[in-house]
Amino acid sequence: MKLIKNHIKQLGFSLVEMAIVLVILGFLLAAVLLPMQAQRHIAAQLTTEAILEDAKRALIGFAQTHGHLPCPATNNGTTIFPDDSGTAHANASGICVAQAGFLPAKTLGLQAVDEQGYGLDAWHNRIRYSITKANNDAFSKPTGLYEVGIAALTPDLKVCATVSAAGCTDRIYLIDNAAAVVFSLGATANQGSGGADENQNLTAPSNTTFISHPITTSASANGEFDHMVTWLSPYVLYNAMIEAGQIH
């Protein structure tokens, strides 16, 4: 009997020993995983930045080939093509059905897409996209840009460093003549429930003023913000289109 008891004792650890080991393991895992989580978050941001950069390049490439920018993809739940798909949604005249919508990744031939063909960021949220309606929708009409010409084009999307009671003035804007704005909702993907700056970006459907600044928490003046915003400079767009003979 004594022999059997000793044999059983040798088969495992006591509860106290296990508890100590688990606590130590917990500390070790926390020490490793927490910084790792931060690094993974940074990696996701870098990936999203790269996706947004690819989206910009694809938009410019589209304009070089077609002579205009694609309209945003839309999503109204009707499942009738081209709505509810990652396809640019324009009417017969080339006027966008919605000025603000989603990146038409299917039209642009981008890879990171969901089942419907919408472009996704690193957190698997759909990337937003807005286009200027200036010059009577010249930026989305097939020959609109060529007919109007660079000298007369006046794209009007603004990107500001913050929402301000004074508006998006020249003291705080980053650009006031963007042709298109592309943005990710960030890690938190707070659609409308973030701070004032995030809400501004989601002012649908005819928003022409966007906010872009580094990440802030809910403790900051304009609340939580982690949108990642980029935009298409008209000069870069025109220059690329000049190269392709699509504008004058």
Partner: protein, 546 residues
């Protein structure tokens, strides 16, 4: 015996160990600091590339003076506020001999009033953090001439291919880590300053040396912050991390972490060339749409500089006829000749008497206006009023010959021409005068019609750098592309004698303008648009139609 061993769970432990190992290696790999560092470095280079692209694009779209670059943000009056800081003369900052206006942070916003037009920013999208912006230095050749207060166009430099080899001031230089010349035709430099090194302190308004670095190699000092002459040199040194502290060729401590890219004037002119070609193409195609033919070319074979006036007859190659594409004339206030297509419409204002609208014919229509009775024609047709057997009439034929007949009174009558969007009035004389966008002829006179080109074309003498050819029977060929109606060639700067070619302009020889035997042999065949630029070839060909 073997069953007893299996029950001890060795296989499961081994499996869990392998799974744990795999998971750990995946997590570690996905968050590998080396990869993140590499991504950061890639992002830095992308920022520099984006900035270079944005600056070139901004210059190519500069509506005030094509090719002109912005002044840097110099921390003038309020620190580095993001605004491009020009230098109005008469202020305490004014010093025509100083070059400190030409180095600063890359501006985010437009130019500071009042010196320079085009009050718009670069539109660059990596400027979220105003405290960590790129630096930028620009050549005096491609910014508003800061020695003049005036913001008008006369204070802007003339930017065309001639400044590549004949600039007003020497171009900037870029050197490599050994002080060897990389380029001596640099129009602008963009620099990532990196983190503070040594005693650098970057409080708001700090001077360039607090951001930009330098080093001494073999006793020669190189620095990116000391821009004090037209031909200033900038250096692409190695980062301090890759220099051995015991390397005696460098003075220690070696404190350098700037990274830079540069824009050569050749790159800038190349991009501008394409804008000029695009503008010219649009004008010529608009003309062709209205007239079913391209305009005759201006004379290339000339010994002195003249206006770019078309040559009558069948001149199908030469310069683009920016100045005059067509002539029109009037014998009197009631008889003029100007081809439809060249003009949009002709209107005869009859001071007294009326037309009968029921008698309007063809492309003419009559209207009663407060200033008199008008007859507007956009093609062949007539307005008239018949009394008994006598008919008072204003009519135009298809060629644009318009005349009035049997007017009761011929006092204060006038004929007014309106032009297409692409056209302008070059000159009007005698009984014809320019009224805004129209020409009014109330007596015998004549006028010339030109292309409505952007002001920067002639302001910068680009009309002397664009060759043009057209063929009514589509005989032109570019490379393997046949049956072309029209083409343009940006001729570039004259090739110099050191390259075994000595082009001199103005000239009566096409070989002084175009560069290869294929382009200069006088036939209808030209080089491919894909032919690469070289030291002996700088033509850029653009097919206009089809």
């Amino acid at each position: 015996m073997s069953n007893t061993k299996a029950e001890k769970g060795a296989a499961i432990i081994m499996l869990l160990f392998i799974l744990g190992l795999g998971l750990t290696s995946y997590l570690l790999k996905s968050a590998d600091p080396t990869i993140l560092k590499r991504d950061r470095a890639q992002k830095t280079m992308q920022s520099l590339g984006d900035a270079k692209q944005a600056l070139i694009a901004w210059a190519v779209n500069n509506s005030v003076n094509l090719g002109q670059l912005p002044f840097p943000d110099r921390a003038r009056g309020g620190g580095y506020d993001g605004f491009s800081d020009c230098n109005p003369s008469g202020t305490a900052f004014y010093d025509p001999a100083s070059y400190r206006f030409l180095i600063g942070k890359l501006p985010v916003y437009g130019q500071t009033s009042p010196c320079v037009g085009q009050q718009v920013g670069l539109g660059l999208d990596n400027n979220n953090d105003l405290d960590n912006r790129l630096w930028y230095a620009v050549s005096r050749n491609v910014v508003h001439q800061y020695e003049y207060l005036s913001a008008d166009s006369r204070s802007n430099p003339i930017i065309n291919p001639s400044i590549i080899h004949h600039p007003n001031y020497p171009w900037l230089k870029v050197l490599d880590r050994n002080g060897q010349l990389v380029s001596d035709r640099v129009a602008a430099v963009i620099i990532v300053p990196g983190n503070n090194l040594g005693s650098q302190s970057r409080a708001d308004g700090a001077t360039p040396d607090q951001f930009l670095d330098g080093f001494t190699k073999h006793g020669v000092q190189y620095a990116n912050s000391d821009y004090d002459s037209a031909d200033e040199d900038f250096v692409m040194g190695d980062s301090f991390e890759s220099i051995d502290p015991h390397d005696v060729s460098f003075s220690q401590p070696y404190l350098f972490n700037d990274q830079l890219v540069y824009i050569t004037i050749d790159e800038l002119i190349q991009a501008i060339n394409k804008r000029v070609l695009a503008e010219s193409k649009w004008l010529l195609r608009a003309y062709e749409r209205n007239n079913s033919a391209f305009p005759n070319a201006a004379d290339l074979h000339r010994s002195t500089l003249q206006s770019n006036r078309y040559v009558a007859g069948a001149n199908q190659s030469g310069f683009v006829p920016f100045d005059v594409t067509d002539d029109c004339d009037c014998e009197s206030s009631e008889r003029c000749n100007c081809r439809f297509g060249v003009i949009d419409s002709v209107t005869m204002f009859r001071y007294s008497g009326t037309w009968k609208s029921a008698e309007d014919m063809g492309a003419c229509s009559s209207t009663l206006k407060a200033s008199g009775q008008e007859c507007l024609c956009t093609g062949a047709g007539s307005c008239s009023r018949t009394f008994s057997t006598q008919s008072t009439r204003f009519s135009c034929d298809a060629s644009g010959l318009c005349a009035a007949h049997n007017l009761v009174e011929n006092i204060n009558n006038k004929i007014i021409y309106t032009l297409p969007k692409y056209a302008d009035i070059h000159q009007a004389s005698n009984g014809c005068q320019i009224l805004k966008d129209t020409v009014q002829c109330n007596a015998a006179g004549d006028f010339q019609i030109s292309l409505r080109e952007a002001t920067w074309i002639k302001q910068n003498n680009w009309q002397q750098y664009i060759y043009y050819a057209w063929s009514p029977t589509r005989q032109l060929q570019v490379g393997r592309q046949q049956h072309l109606s029209a083409l343009l060639i940006a001729m570039g700067d004259p090739l110099t004698s050191e390259l075994a070619v000595n082009q001199a302009r103005p000239s009566s020889l096409i070989t002084d303008y175009l560069d290869s035997s294929e382009n200069t042999d006088g036939d209808a065949i030209y080089e491919s648009v894909l032919k690469k630029a070289s030291i002996n070839y700088n033509d850029i060909i653009l097919i206009v139609s089809p």
